[in-house]
Symmetry: C2
Subunit: 238 residues, 2 copies
């Protein structure tokens, strides 16, 4: 049985400050937890699971059996899914700029950020740099939206323009830029994706090597930031 | 002041059955409501707005002034945004197959469906056909996620395989198909997008003219259905 303290401690991981203090994030559901377990370098602190999940993983350490009702109490999902893991924060490193890096400027919606990390993973982009105003990538909603890609994509938080200034080339996704099909393929540098409602900040436009756009054929005013990221990567990468 | 009956009637539009009976859907927020007002053929039943919104539209008919507190009571948003409109259902027609049509197979998440309609609008696809198990396109969450594209994209609900069987060519998005870059451009026929977790139904695969895929370079197992739609349309359309 889970003590009140344990339940409270897990629930506290929904708050960035307390999560940072514990150095632990929450991952839920069979798919995501199993990917994390099977990814080299990922350190699982504790797994809380219902009995029929545990039957498949008899050799795992740090597993605690919980009832469905207990899982409901510690879960961040509307419909909890058999297993919840507390995972250690990944070591803080510097982004590798050997291949194309994504720079996310003020992507505040957790679902959007998680979806972008999943897209990056699909296209083999393993370095995603976030500006200060981005959602926290260890937010349970972000982790969930990555569908397991959080295990493979390294996210670097709170990088401001100072860092971007030292990079070259810097490609910025804007509404008015070179058509992505005439842009040529890119293998290095940084691709900047901005906040959808406010667009790209002036200071970032100033340091852009080039601007790239998705040609519009119909009436919609804009595309969601995650959709734009997927489309641009699918055209710009070799 | 809004009567209890009016508030209840508006709230009832969150339920498909009652919405269908009224033949009215809810659109909220300045951007979406203003796009609907300005789109030819869209019939606005009633607009509920706070005074500072109405100041910009002094000539509009059917506008009722509400307080912020009243707007909060009738709104389907967490943070209501100045104006809520009740809009008449669009006339039921048959999909035009003169240009490429999207067929959505069991896209159940309202946010995903709305985002797909926004993408269709961006790429100039104005006919989207939905299978029976899709979310209802008049669901307030879908309307909101379209960001106004609901005004331009025609959605045809509850079309089952009978209809798809009469179409040619039928392109189906699958994990194992022809690489979209080697697929060639398409201007007619149907592109089928399936439910992400279950994939495309066998019966649909059986009637596919061709299968098309987004090449995967990294570790993610799949892409969200809306992301896949955006990427495929950006490559397949001329």
């Amino acid at each position: 049985m889970l003590s009140k303290k344990v339940i409270k401690d897990i629930q506290s991981l929904g708050h960035k400050k307390l999560r940072d203090e514990a150095g632990l994030f929450v991952a839920e559901g069979r798919k995501i937890v199993e990917e994390l377990i099977n990814t080299k370098g990922v350190v699982i602190d504790t797994i809380y699971a219902v009995p029929d999940w545990i039957d498949y993983y008899p050799d795992l350490q740090n597993v605690k059996v919980v009832t469905k009702a207990e899982l409901q109490r510690i879960s961040f999902l509307t419909t909890p899914n058999k297993v919840l893991a507390l995972v250690k924060y990944f070591p803080v490193q510097e982004p590798s700029t050997k291949s194309l890096v994504l720079y996310l400027d003020e992507i505040q919606d957790p679902g959007n950020l998680g979806t972008i990390l999943r897209i990056a993973d699909w296209f083999g982009i393993y370095n995603v740099v976030c500006s200060e105003q981005c959602a926290d990538h260890y937010n349970p909603k972000v982790v969930q939206a990555t569908m397991g890609s959080i295990a493979r994509v390294r996210v670097y938080s709170d990088y401001e323009l100072q860092w971007l200034r030292s990079q070259k080339p810097v490609y910025v996704a804007t509404v008015e830029g070179t058509d992505m099909d005439r842009f040529g393929k890119v293998n290095e540098g940084v691709l900047v994706i901005g906040n959808e409602s406010r667009g790209i900040r002036e200071e970032i436009l100033d340091l852009a090597t080039a601007r790239v756009s998705i040609p519009k054929k119909g009436g919609a005013e804009s595309l969601n930031a995650a959709i734009a990221t997927g489309i641009l990567l699918s055209h710009m990468l070799t």
